[in-house]
């Protein structure tokens, strides 16, 4: 979106080494996944408000309407609930819709269809129907988006049976997880952080999949485990790199999928470090932070050398003002401070 494009452009990421492979942006990786899926399966279609407009949903849908036509890539009325239901009904009848939203808040209008319908039919009709539906949303902050344009909704979806949720942090995963989500026979929410859209990474050409439900170690360490997903991983890695200079060795686990949760990888790392920090781009209460904290208490209690620490959003609506935002969002410094505290405990 134009008003915070400058900010997104100004973000500094580590440059990938081109010797390791082809380098493309996160948004481009998504575009490739959509393109491949449309190419490989005539039942795939893409819909959403503005998917065919000139900004092309952060560039993720660029070129697709021209290439695949307006019956397979189409703009929709401003009817979030009905379009979620239409996508569900189409998915129940042999199609593989990808329903895109450029703000997570818009998905809230469609919760009745997502929570009470799309994720329930396979169970309610005893497996007669499958609902291979992808609900894609660009999440996270710009600046000034405030309480109704940048809410993190994945926490409230964690308790919805029948749903899967992926939150890639790298261009490689953005492509591979989206392809997995499209091929999955269940409703899958794919939440992609706005601040990652211009991040570059090594992305293979052609088709590949990243498995849903499997986390990955982004950094190995022995002192403290940091667990998170999406843009929180970027912050966690920056913090971990700073801390290395202080001889604090943090391990960073990128969950990639938050539902179903890769419990073994969290418990494995906790067993080694005994110290756990959970970082999330959403509210701490009742969400991913709370769930992982509970997991540690239930299944990793004997390994804990210190109380679990969580860093996420406070129990406060998202402010719109720039200064208030600085107090609101977690940053590298806060993560580093938390890790220091844990390492000393």
């Amino acid at each position: 979106m134009p008003w915070d494009e400058g900010l997104v452009n100004s973000l500094v990421y580590d440059r990938p080494d081109p010797k390791e492979g082809r380098v493309v942006s996160y948004a481009r990786a998504i575009n490739e996944a959509l393109s491949l899926a449309l190419e490989n399966d005539p039942n795939v279609f893409v819909l959403g408000q503005g998917v065919d407009d000139p900004t092309a949903m952060f560039g993720t849908t660029r070129g697709l309407p021209a290439r695949f036509g307006s019956t397979r890539v189409f703009d929709t009325p401003l009817s979030e609930e009905a379009m979620m239901g239409v996508s569900t009904g189409a998915a129940m009848n042999g199609m593989r819709p990808i329903f895109m939203h450029n703000r997570p808040d818009f998905v809230l209008l469609a919760f009745n269809q997502l929570v009470t319908h799309a994720t329930k039919f396979h169970f309610m009709d005893n497996g007669q129907t499958t609902v291979p539906l992808v609900v894609w949303a660009a999440i996270g902050r710009g600046w000034g988006s405030g309480a109704q344009h940048s809410q993190a909704i994945h926490g409230m979806l964690l308790g919805v049976p029948g749903l899967k949720i992926v939150m890639p942090s790298t261009p490689y995963d953005a492509k591979g997880l989206l392809l997995s989500a499209i091929l999955d026979n269940n409703p899958v929410c794919v939440f992609e952080h706005r601040w990652l859209m211009k991040k570059d990474g090594v992305v293979p050409e052609g088709f590949y999949r990243v498995p849903i439900g499997k986390g990955i170690y982004r950094r190995r360490g022995k002192d403290v485990t940091i667990v998170g997903a999406s843009h929180a991983i970027e912050l966690a890695l920056q913090a971990a790199n700073q801390l290395a200079a202080e001889t604090i060795d943090a391990e960073v686990i990128d969950l990639r999928t938050i539902k179903p949760l890769d419990e073994p990888i969290i418990l494995e790392s906790l067993h080694k470090t005994g110290r756990l920090l959970v970082v999330d781009t959403a509210w701490m209460k009742g969400g991913l932070c709370a769930e992982i904290g509970c997991l540690a208490a239930e299944k990793g209690f004997a390994d804990l050398k210190a109380p679990v620490v969580r860093i996420g959003l406070p129990d406060v609506p998202t402010p719109a003002g720039f200064t208030l935002e600085q107090f609101y969002y977690p940053d590298t410094a806060r993560i580093a401070a938390a890790v220091r505290g844990l390492a000393r405990s």
């Binding site: 039942n43 279609f45 019956t71 929709t76 009325p77 009817s79 609930e81 009905a82 379009m83 979620m84 239901g85 239409v86 996508s87 569900t88 009904g89 189409a90 998915a91 129940m92 009848n93 042999g94 199609m95 819709p97 009745n112 269809q113 009470t116 319908h117 039919f121 396979h122 169970f123 309610m124 009709d125 005893n126 497996g127 007669q128 129907t129 499958t130 609902v131 291979p132 049976p161 029948g162 899967k164 026979n185 269940n186």
Partner: protein
């Protein structure tokens, strides 16, 4: 209130049968009657046994509304799909759903049509095109539109009907769905059984005094009415809408005024509570679609007393057998609870 009939019957009664008589062969007409009779007797037996508490499922009986479901499904082919609200029994049976599997479902048995995961409000059998239900008013509407979109995108010759009630037209998602259906000209039919009450709230407290069809027409599609007492009128209206959909001309809204002779949910009538008058119910019972059709068939020599008695006997035996089957069927196990949360 007692003498006050808020929603009078405005149709033609049995006169209407004659008007549509040439749309239907003798055998078809008798088959429609038998289908309605069967549904009525099944519903009555469910109602009679409900207090025994073996059917631990919230029921919404269709007694009084049989002509709507039977007339509608008679205009559909096996490949056509039906989606419904919570009031499922009529459509399930009229679309060809199996009675044994229905009653097993209502008795919460593992061999129920959805394995005891849905109960009465989710009688689903995709093999006969009873494709899905929603217990949320309006919930099935966009899903049916999506099913129709799938048929259109795949080039399949398939029409989708969604059974809704008058209150569905108050849900925002219904307006959104009609708009999109008309925009894309998808092959869907919005089949609105207007029974004038949402639970116990009359239409007049929920909607301004305007024709419900005007609401539908405003979304860019034809809206017609068919007498819900007359199975032939319903069948004819749906057949026209099906032809329009198959021709690629898009959706149709059909309003079918009907009256439920029983409470919104559960067994028995609840008119005594005063939300509607007993006189109103009695006025509609005077045009009971089943009795009117039986009388018409008798009068025109299509059905004699002996044949009717035979049919009643056969249906009674089928129902008794199906209940026996359900009651003898196994319960689910704990393992069954965890099946079909995710698809493979």
């Amino acid at each position: 209130m007692d003498s006050n009939i808020r929603y009078p019957y405005k149709g033609e009664g049995s006169q209407g049968f004659e008007r549509f008589r040439d749309t239907c062969s003798h055998n078809e007409l008798v088959a429609l009657y038998l289908s309605m009779l069967r549904i009525r007797r099944i519903e009555e037996e469910i109602e009679r046994r409900y207090h025994q508490d073996f059917m631990k499922t919230p029921i919404h009986l269709v007694i009084g509304q049989e002509a709507a479901a039977v007339g509608c499904c008679a205009a559909l082919g096996p490949a056509d799909l039906v989606y419904t609200s919570h009031r499922t029994h009529g459509a399930y049976l009229a679309k060809g759903g199996d009675l044994k599997r229905m009653l097993s479902e209502m008795h919460c048995r593992i061999n129920g049509c959805v394995g005891s995961r849905g109960g009465s409000m989710h009688l689903i059998d995709k093999s006969v095109g009873m494709a899905g239900t929603s217990a949320i008013v309006g919930g099935a509407v966009p899903i049916a539109v999506g099913a129709a979109l799938a048929a259109q995108l795949k080039g399949e010759d398939r029409v989708v009907v969604v059974f809704i009630g008058d209150a569905t037209t108050e849900e925002g998602v219904a307006a959104e769905s009609l708009n999109f259906a008309a925009l894309k000209k998808v092959p869907v039919i919005f089949f609105c059984e207007n029974n004038f009450y949402s639970v116990q709230s009359p239409l007049a407290t929920r909607q301004p005094a305007r024709d419900i069809r005007a609401w539908a027409e405003a979304h860019g599609m034809p809206a017609v009415s068919a007498d819900g007492v007359n199975v032939l009128a319903v069948r004819d209206a749906v057949a026209s809408a099906v032809a329009r959909a198959r021709a690629g001309d898009g959706p149709t809204f059909i309003e079918v005024p009907v009256y439920r002779f029983r409470a919104h949910g559960g067994a028995g009538d609840d008119s005594k509570t005063g939300y509607r008058s007993e006189a109103e119910r009695a006025a509609w019972e005077a045009v009971d679609p089943l009795r009117l059709l039986a009388e018409y068939l008798t009068r025109t020599g299509c059905l004699d007393a002996a044949a009717n008695e035979r049919a009643e006997r056969d249906i009674a035996a089928e129902i008794a057998g199906a209940f026996e089957h359900a009651l003898a069927s196994p319960n689910p196990t704990e393992d069954d609870l965890y099946r079909h949360v995710y698809a493979d």
